[in-house]
Assembly symmetry: C2
Homo-oligomer: 342 residues x 2
């Protein structure tokens, strides 16, 4: 059990360290933090905090920096979202408030806002409606050899793709395929659709429209694309600012990871809580040892939930990050409700 003073010291130390990036000594704490004790006393307390594993030295006579455990304690007990300046709030409102936009634009905007306001890297995931249903499937002949496939769900997502028509396919085959899809898939929840696409549909196609089985593969890939989470990442290059100790090779692997849907899925796993922080090694990936990932979920009632995430240095200012995320999350809930409304 920590005393009040010990908590105050730990708090100040982390605040100071996250804003300067330098190890913090007893004198600095005495001067900068409002703690009524001499540097010698603070030294004793620091020694105790180190003994408990909350802080550590970089070398035997250096100042202290927070340890993994220290950050954990800070995040779980001490940090409070910092209020944004009214200018920043206004900025967010302006960017997300007014005009009608497309869903993708909104997500993209949000990611940009997050990365600009924090100067870290932002990852945004659109609202995921677990129970959305397929409401429409169309094949639209554009000309003799191009067809557009369009997929709609009741949650408003619309996916489309143009593909070239193999010569073997006739108008009548197109109709048949469309009918099969409409008859067997439309109205079902998307996870059902995925199952049927794998099991029943290939059989039906072979039976009723054998010519079209090539085409089926294309269409299947569109369905898969529509089911995939779509990540919007902004401020990737900000990573350069807080990855000094990484060599080029690691940096490249890191960027490759950020390009890869699958890896992101592992990194950002859905969770219930409003906020969640993963610190360095908690991410189980050497690449992220000096990074932290702060994730916030936003809810759009009746339309599922989405995720906002900030990837920054372990030594980031958590209070500010929490502040930005909190404001944006609220604004986004609001914006999206409007989006679904009209």
């Amino acid at each position: 059990m920590l005393t009040k003073r010990q908590i105050a010291i730990l708090d100040s130390l982390i605040q100071l360290y996250t804003s300067t990036g330098q190890p913090i000594g007893s004198k600095t704490i005495m001067n900068e933090a409002s703690i009524d004790a001499s540097s010698a006393t603070i030294r004793n307390e620091l020694s105790y905090l180190e003994h408990l594993g909350f802080i550590q030295k970089t070398h035997s006579s250096s100042g202290r920096i927070p340890s993994m455990r220290g950050y954990r304690y800070y995040i779980d007990h001490l940090v409070k979202p910092r209020e944004l300046t009214s200018e920043k709030i206004q900025f967010i409102n302006e960017m997300l408030g007014s005009r009608v936009q497309q869903m993708d634009d909104i997500m993209h905007q949000s990611a940009q806002l997050l990365s600009q306001l924090t100067s870290y890297t932002a990852i945004v995931l659109g609202p995921k409606a677990e129970s959305s249903r397929l409401t429409g499937f169309r094949l639209l002949a554009l000309n003799d050899n191009h067809v557009m496939a369009i997929i709609q769900t009741d949650k408003g997502t619309i996916e489309n793709q143009v593909f070239r028509l193999p010569k073997s396919i006739k108008e009548s085959d197109l109709m048949k395929v469309t009918n099969i899809f409409n008859h067997h898939l439309v109205g079902l929840p998307l996870n059902e659709v995925a199952k049927k696409l794998e099991r029943d549909i290939p059989f039906l196609i072979r039976k009723h429209a054998a010519n079209a089985s090539d085409m089926f593969l294309t269409i299947e890939s569109i369905f898969n694309a529509s089911a995939e989470d779509r990540y919007h990442i902004s401020g990737k290059m900000n990573l350069l600012d807080f990855s000094e100790d990484m060599d080029k090779k690691k940096l490249k692997s890191l960027y490759e990871l950020l390009e890869n849907q699958g890896d992101l899925n592992v990194l950002i796993n859905h969770m219930q809580s409003d906020f969640d922080v993963k610190i360095g090694e908690e991410m189980n990936n050497d690449l992220f040892n000096n990074f932290s990932l702060v994730t916030a979920t936003y809810q759009v009632s009746g339309h599922g939930s989405g995720i906002l995430a900030i990837l920054g240095p372990t030594s980031m200012s958590y209070d500010e990050t929490f502040g930005v995320l909190d404001v944006l999350r609220k604004q986004l809930t609001h914006t999206l409700l409007n989006y679904y409304l009209d």
Copy 2:
């Protein structure tokens, strides 16, 4: 006028420098290059080449590196595309040869191939058909409040975008707008379309479908998007390997520039010649002082021409870069002819 030996020395020096990255001294040239002269003689020649401005020293007693002028001379007179290994050629064939793909996929593939084979950064621009005509415009009602606009040209490009319908708009308005577009724009070359979109159409809309003028703005932006060049960039992160001397700030500006269509347009201006190289300062942008841009054009008869470009360090191996570009350019011409054919 340079003697044969001087040319041979300049050639070797550049080859050696581009492969080692280190300043080259007289002894190295004597040992590595097949030049029948002592190091002292080579020193004399080097001194002369420096006097002419083809090479320079990094400090008073260092070896020589090529100067801007040296590179220019090398590229204009000495460099020969290096033959690719048969494995690499086969790799390219496999990636671009077989199955039917979408245009965007082909371009994306090409960019990836280029960056992987050169380990520099690749920029690919799809075939630009100067004289393509608008052949189709459709508005497809997806549901009560979403419409998809589809634009087609006779060169096979298809652009589409989904947008939300303002409430004020009725079915009949949609019809009217579609009619106006089909009547006044379809069949025209795209540059004519752009003009009319600016001049005549707004007036017609106001007259016949006043409610739809909001919608017109959206549709106009789709047209603009369809007219835009679309750059495919791959291997951005390779920049990290050859930008050691740049600070974080410059690196970020550089990446921002690569994200920006407009800036890329300035950088890569269309030209006729098969190959073109811009060396460092020739690009008129401080950010590129230590980079070179090698561009190659490819022709698809009857379907316009496109561009392949490699952005690498000024000290890149030009012969290899030329080799890769040449092979890919030929393969691409072939692939695209097939694409347009069937």
